[in-house]
Symmetry: C2
Subunit: 277 residues, 2 copies
């Protein structure tokens, strides 16, 4: 589908500013509460997931499907018991490679469903699902991910290309992954992802990126975090703090204010109303 | 057994300064790292449990058996799948009453064992087990708790009386609980617990309590936490900060320095060597 036209936004730039990794740290939730952007996704296996509810009245929250646990000092465990979901310590896999070498699709599906069920159980109006570090993009897992999204009648984040830089998808998988993405009814979005940009240049990069957008619908992912003692152990703390600085920058906020700011709730409700979900 | 005599400490005051709730917050772990007392117990269902390893070379760590999840904003889930272990949201029970009304002893035993196994798996030399908020003190669960301690050959924290203030044990259970405690071979310790003291008076209370101790072996529990943004949502933050202030107080440290500072590792190893564990 031509999503932009279908939304009645031909020629415009529609942006979903998307806060990743909610629940993983108090400082991530605090950043979400302070920024003017309502869309984000919660990692349900984390300790602060329950706190995401009630952070803001306009919350537009999805489930950040989590199949790996990449930090050394704060770790989380799968919600379900599948042996293929966990390392020798019972935590979700520490690396994407380990996750991809081990995950069984049936156990991963049970875990994806359990994470969505857990979000619904605590009262989150789940507007979408997306994927922590792209762990669901092994092609057979991607098919599961899309099927689960349809079962719950929520959009899944699906990039408009499997070859976008930063998705960490092995080249060998891309043709099959494109077939999986193309086979489903869900719309695909452009990705904007500054994660790999140098922290010091993040605000400037964000300004330039927004200014240069072609017409389209974009999922602009970020990992904004406020400063705090407990965040010092994160290897990518500087990146997360730079995201917070960028999205609190008046110039960035003004530039985004000139675009159509879309939410996943709007997208979900339109897709449901049209019978696509 | 007369533990004090058995340890060769007749007439002395032997104190295990015990840091509760490790793993539950970065700020709890940071306090453990900064204080001069090596003994504490880790809540394995939490996100920062893995970080407890390596905080200090002299670590004397046990497993803080956790069957409830009492905070509103940061919550944890059981490691095992027993339905009696969890509330409608999948978290451990929010109150002791709910836990006691629902926990099945067989599922609680599986969870206790899983928590100890998880600690051993990440490399913790488990020196003891104890109990978060006394949730194991329903008499049938106490029997399980003592049996599990023996199975793993570690001491379990067993108070010298079921009637100590602050243990939250219903009066109706105390006679049966005394029988359970008395039936096992594990030594019982005096409890010192300042949790219910006003935060402003904590340091003075600690000084007076140490000065007034009768000869004996004591488990001196505390919940020291350093200040930090993420700790503000805790309803008992003032109590935890006051514990940190008390145990960093030079007068308290000097008073404790005049007593025999025991560790659970010493106790465990003596009990193992004697064939009691």
């Amino acid at each position: 589908m031509d999503l932009l036209n279908w939304l009645g936004l031909a020629g415009q730039r529609a942006v979903i500013v998307h806060h990743d990794d909610l629940g993983s740290l108090w400082a991530m939730n605090a950043a979400y509460q302070r920024l003017p952007y309502a869309t984000g996704a919660v990692m349900m296996p984390t300790m602060w997931a329950a706190a995401c509810l009630g952070l803001r009245a306009d919350a537009d929250l999805g489930v950040h499907i989590t199949l790996n646990s990449e930090f050394a000092h704060h770790r989380w465990r799968p919600l379900t018991q599948g042996a293929s979901l966990r390392d020798a310590f019972g935590y979700a896999w520490p690396t994407l490679d380990a996750a991809w070498a081990n995950l069984q699709a049936d156990e991963a599906e049970a875990e994806m469903r359990a994470q969505i069920d857990a979000a619904l159980a605590i009262g989150i109006d789940v507007t979408h699902i997306d994927t922590h570090m792209g762990a669901v993009f092994r092609p057979d897992l991607a098919a599961v991910y899309l099927r689960v999204a349809q079962a719950y009648r929520v959009p899944a984040f699906v990039p408009d290309s499997a070859s976008v830089p930063g998705l960490w998808i092995p080249d060998a998988w891309k043709p099959e992954l494109e077939r999986v993405f193309a086979a489903g009814p869900l719309p695909r979005l452009g990705i904007i992802d500054g994660y790999g940009q140098p922290p010091a240049a993040r605000t400037g990069w964000t300004l330039a990126t927004v200014a240069g957008l072609a017409p389209g619908v974009y999922h602009f992912m970020h990992h904004a975090m406020i400063p705090g003692d407990e965040t010092q152990s994160l290897r990518d703390a500087a990146t997360r703090l730079a995201d917070f600085a960028a999205f609190t920058d008046p110039g960035v906020q003004a530039a985004l204010g000139g675009e159509v700011l879309l939410t996943y709730r709007e997208l979900r409700d339109r897709l449901r109303a049209a019978g696509i979900l």
